[in-house]
């Protein structure tokens, strides 16, 4: 049943690698496609195409457009619905019915439940295929309505942003904000350390997505923008 090219994961980052490995462990013949030039050869072979390109919006539009063109007629396209909505991804791909959004904020291994995002034009069979795919990977799914950042991304990003604002406003030092949240609530990690582990750029991309749709209340705090542009080396560890 499983044959080469069952699953094509498009991307080059850590999430794409994790998705390929998890698919292979689940028995899928999965390939990682990290070059748009290979789309025409690899994508038509796959029944499930997972997009995890992790780049700026301009580049993602091109990637999704190319994926949409190469997609087999009976295949589904799973698009990263945290930095853009499922509806946007589907429209860029030109595949309103068969493009389903999914949400993995950081590492797949650290997420027991993955959100599957659908909107008015999503075909029910595509949603079911997406759920079955994650199910085989050993991940529970929840189907939710398409909303910028979904629930997982919005919550983590908004917590990190509020923590960053608290630092920016001089309420406490960054390490003290994290420590206070770890001890005073039962969050698994401090919001700033969590954001760093996920990648500040990704947190900023989620906030920018919400801001684009809902306005300035979700503008990233200056501290996050600083860390995203300059802080990479110093924020490791």
């Amino acid at each position: 049943m499983a044959r080469k090219g069952d699953v094509a994961v498009c991307g080059r980052g850590a999430l794409a690698r994790e998705l390929v490995e998890a698919s292979q462990r689940a028995g899928y013949a999965a390939v990682m496609v990290d070059d748009v030039g290979r789309f025409r050869r690899e994508i038509p072979r796959a029944a499930i195409v997972v997009e995890a390109w992790d780049s700026d919006e301009y580049h993602r539009r091109e990637v999704l457009d190319a994926l949409g063109h190469a997609l087999r007629r009976d295949a589904i396209l799973l698009a990263d619905a945290l930095p853009a909505t499922a509806r946007e991804c589907a429209s860029w791909a030109g595949q309103p019915g068969r493009c389903v959004g999914y949400g993995v904020v950081g590492r797949l291994a650290e997420q027991k439940v993955v959100e599957i995002a659908r909107f008015s034009q999503t075909i029910e069979a595509a949603v079911e295929k997406a759920r079955a795919f994650f199910g085989k990977l050993g991940v529970e799914t929840r189907v939710i309505g398409d909303r910028p950042g979904l629930i997982s991304g919005r919550t983590i990003a908004a917590l990190a942003n509020e923590a960053a604002w608290a630092v920016t406003n001089g309420v406490a030092l960054p390490e003290d904000v994290d420590r206070a949240m770890e001890l005073g609530t039962n969050y698994p990690r401090g919001p700033l350390a969590w954001a760093r582990a996920i990648g500040i750029e990704r947190i900023v991309a989620i906030l920018e997505n919400i801001r684009r749709h809902e306005g300035e209340a979700y503008a990233p705090a200056p501290l996050l923008l600083d860390l995203a542009t300059h802080g990479k080396e110093t924020m490791i560890g």
């Binding site: 939710i144 398409d146 919550t155 309420v171 904000v177 005073g184 039962n186």
Partner: protein
């Protein structure tokens, strides 16, 4: 609290927070005067003391010694000469100001004057005393006997020495002091707002129900999803915190949720009314 050896403190207010703070302090070896003008509240605290102290101390001899370290008083006049006063009365600005005004007159000049407020400005309270530099926030979390975190709140007038002494006291309780500037919600109550608000807004938007929101966030490693947690805390209590932070900051991103306001108006407060986001058997 003269240096490391000072041990006489007074806790004002014997509600959940005040009694809990007094219990922690007695267990850590401090002599405590627990000041409560209302006889029923005082008697309730007195009755519960052996049980709550017993959770902190197992040795029977140590337990009875700790119990003897707490003295109950009905007025501040019966608790003079203390090194540290911790006010833990209800969040009523006039009531708290009156206490700080009295402490400014009656406490010794070196006494540290602390408030356990979570929603009022410590800077405003410090204005009520003759010794504003001695005023500091020592914000415990509920229940104080369990929660390891204490926010030490530096008001505009608080001296560095007062901050150091407050942090030293917290450490002697075996807890972790985090120094924060006096701003609405301090760190925890402010930074935690989005956890609740994003859940409420997702439900309002109709993209998911409470159970799905909780499942997604528990799947990310949160011990309790936001809806289950609001049901536990009480939606009214949770809304009051959001309101106080929102009203003090005016920040749009922290605006209270109409859904939560409606639920509170309908007395869907969570476990305590058997109905919140979930139903609870009575």
């Amino acid at each position: 609290m003269k240096g490391e050896s000072a041990i006489a403190i007074a806790v004002i207010g014997a509600g959940t927070m005040g009694a809990g703070i007094a219990t922690c302090a007695a267990a850590a070896g401090f002599d405590v005067a627990l000041v409560e003008p209302l006889a029923p509240a005082r008697e309730r605290a007195q009755e519960n003391l052996p049980k709550t102290l017993g959770r902190l101390i197992s040795d029977p001899a140590e337990l009875s010694a700790a119990q003897r370290r707490i003295r109950f008083a009905s007025s501040l006049a019966e608790a003079t000469g203390r090194d540290l006063y911790i006010e833990a009365v209800p969040e009523d600005l006039a009531l708290k100001r009156a206490i700080f005004e009295e402490l400014g007159r009656t406490a010794s000049p070196n006494a540290l004057l602390a408030t356990n407020t979570s929603s009022l400005s410590v800077t405003d309270l410090a204005r009520a005393t003759a010794r504003p530099a001695n005023v500091v926030g020592i914000h415990f979390f509920n229940p104080p006997t369990v929660m390891k975190l204490v926010e030490v709140v530096r008001a505009a007038q608080t001296s560095d020495e007062s901050v150091r002494r407050a942090a030293g006291f917290v450490e002697r309780l075996g807890k972790t002091p985090i120094v924060v500037r006096d701003t609405p919600g301090f760190v925890v109550n402010r930074v935690a707002r989005p956890y609740y608000l994003e859940a409420l807004r997702a439900i309002e938007a109709g993209v998911a129900d409470a159970e799905s929101v909780d499942a997604v966030l528990e799947g990310l490693g949160f011990k309790m999803g936001p809806c289950r947690l609001m049901d536990l805390i009480g939606l009214d209590v949770n809304l009051a915190t959001t309101r106080s932070v929102y009203e003090a900051t005016g920040l749009e991103r922290l605006r209270p949720s109409p859904l939560q306001e409606r639920m509170v108006a309908e007395r869907r407060l969570g476990r305590k009314t058997s109905r919140g986001f979930y139903e609870y058997g009575t």
